[in-house]
């Protein structure tokens, strides 16, 4: 393994991770400095609905496509969402597995699973780029960061897919590009929309707390009869 690849797999990733963690911490402190709203009234709604249940329901919402009309009516989009995020998880895991547990990737079944997931995420990424460009509403709400983040992730999936076998002996280009992209991704994330996963637990927590306290969550949506 070349010095350059070793550096990209270790020192570069560690530095990028540290930067990301630092910026995240600053971001969280910033968010927490805003006052929290307070509900003084007595709770409303049915007894199955409490603050706690609302919060749990809110966090679990995304895994229950039937519970949200927008997911229920567009199940394919929901699957795409799932594949895309599984791809992100797999590609991030890869950046830890390659330097610290490369033997895992000697198991054919595991490399196949990683490659299938990441390739599927890459295809979804392409579909999402086309969708964002071709649908007027999405164009109207997109900023340069929205396009760039999506393209960045899709390109990253491409290189990740080829890096899964970890065969640096046969050439280091894909591995080097993947690790440099991962480092860039880690540093860029807190500045971009990709940081949404940092906010996700908070926004869903607050919505769940309010809606649970008011008897709206767990949602009792449309019922027949």
């Amino acid at each position: 393994m070349s010095e350059a690849l070793h550096f990209a797999e270790h020192r570069l990733q560690e530095t990028a991770l540290l930067i990301m963690a630092g910026v995240y911490a600053v971001r969280l402190i910033w968010l927490m400095r805003f006052k929290a709203g307070k509900e003084r009234q007595a709770p409303t709604g049915l007894p199955g609905t409490t603050k706690g249940k609302g919060i749990i329901y809110s966090w679990a919402n995304i895994f229950m496509p039937w519970s949200m009309e927008s997911a229920r009516k567009h199940v394919l989009m929901w699957f795409q969402f799932g594949i895309f995020h599984m791809g992100v998880t797999a590609a991030i895991a890869l950046s830890v597995i390659i330097p610290y547990a490369p033997e895992v990737l000697e198991i054919t079944l595991i490399t196949t699973i990683f490659q299938v997931v990441i390739v599927a995420a890459f295809i979804v990424g392409i579909m999402r780029i086309i969708r964002r460009i071709s649908i007027p509403v999405l164009r109207a709400i997109s900023s340069p960061d929205d396009y760039f983040s999506l393209i960045l992730l899709t390109v990253w999936f491409f290189f990740a897919a080829f890096s899964v076998p970890n065969r640096w002996q046969e050439g280091e280009t894909f591995l080097l590009t993947y690790f440099w992209l991962t480092a860039f991704f880690l540093v860029y994330v807190p500045f971009s929309k990709i940081s949404h996963y940092l906010y996700y637990p908070f926004t869903r927590y607050y919505l769940g707390k309010t809606m649970g306290f008011r008897g709206v969550f767990p949602l009792r949506g449309t019922r027949r009869g």
Binding site: W30, L31, F34, K35, A36, G37, E39, R40, Q41, A42, P43, T44, G45, L46, P47, G48, T49, S58, N61, I62, M68, E69, S70, A71, K73, H74, M77, F81, P136, V137, L138, A140, I141, S142, S143, P144, D145, D146, F148, F191, S192, K193, H196, Y199, Y200, F202, T203, R204, Y206, L207, M211, R214, G215, V216, L219, R220, G221, T222, R223, R224
Partner: protein, 453 residues
Amino acid sequence: MTNKKRSHQAEVLIEGMAEKLNRQIVGSLVACVHCGNCTRSCHYVLTNPDDPTFAPAYKADRIRKIFKRHFDWTGRVFPWWVGAKSIFTVEELEELKDIVFGKCTNCRRCSINCPMGVDYATFNRMMRGLLVSVGIMPEGVAVVSKDQWEIGNQMGVLPEDYIDTIEWMSEEMQSELDDPTAVIPIDKMDADIVYTINPREVKYDPRTISDAGKIFHLAGENWTMPSEGWDMTNFGLFSGDDALGGAVAGRVYEKAKELRAKKIVISECGHGYRSTRCEGPNWAGMDVEIPMESSVITMLRYVREGRIKVDKTRNTKSYTFHDSCNNARSCGLFEEPRELLNLVVTDFREMYPNRSENYCCTGGGGAMSMSEYTPLRLKSAKIKADQLRETGAEVVVTSCHNCVDGLTDLIKHYKLGMEVTQLVNMESEVNKGSGFNVSIPRRSIALSSNDFK
């Protein structure tokens, strides 16, 4: 950097935003990923499919841009990259007004359809309040807010007119029930219930007051109506003015406390219920000890306890139920009205979607008072009209005065030929001195509702 000069109003609005931002709102402002999932949950989008400016995320971004430019460092450092943009001129503020008042009814349907939990309706209301604070608002909002500040109710009903109407309804009730003891008590001390109403009832629909009075009387309730602090509606909810919201709700709480009432009952009104029961204590900064409930829950309890008897065979028409957004999506009140309705009608037809997923009557968020947006409102009402038509019902029942007006308007516009009524009117109808005893199905879910505690 732009050299545009910022108007004084824009300056004040940005300063005000700093004070209004809380963790929940900031979370919603930073978390949007522009996925567009919320788009088709909005009735404005469904009726204007070719115009992307109606999309919830697009409308939300008009506010988000300002937030990012001034409060989020990504927007301060790379404004163009993350779509941050400040606001400068009065014209820009006017445009923002047309979005937050004219293109959104704060119905919260997009909020429950956002995978990230972005609650756009909440920060849309915040922006309404900020615009109101710099004097930029639809004329109707200014007029109604002024009335509620100055006269104490949002329809400018004078104290003597209110008392006259109550006395008149009291006499009507007496003659209808042929019972000299059937009166509407005013300012009775130590009553079990103080009944608060919507000024629309005094001005346009006094029958709902006597209908409620009949029910309280027949149930043998120890009740009263207050001479002041009787308006449970609250334009602060629509205008985003928390100070007005707190002052109006505070009047209701203070009067009930002065009368040593044991409970505040709120007549059927979605925004009134939400304002008085769910938001008022927060706006007023008061911990209100007197319990509060919707009159729907009160009436349901009477039927369950056998204090009033109902005969559903008297209502032979076909009925559907419209959920008010404020009741269903902000206060969890949707099963009790259905249970009550099923006790008083034989032919109930559910509307789809319903409960927390129901569409706004399209007159919500104060839209009925903003005449400049009426054509847009009626166009967006097509989604509700289709929903109503599909039920094939003759009558639509709702627990909200505002929805009564919104639905009446769209039924006329789309020539649906349906009637609109409220539960209080129906229940009073099936009660008219009837000696019928009907069996009352009990549902455990509603029996232990938080409001029954």
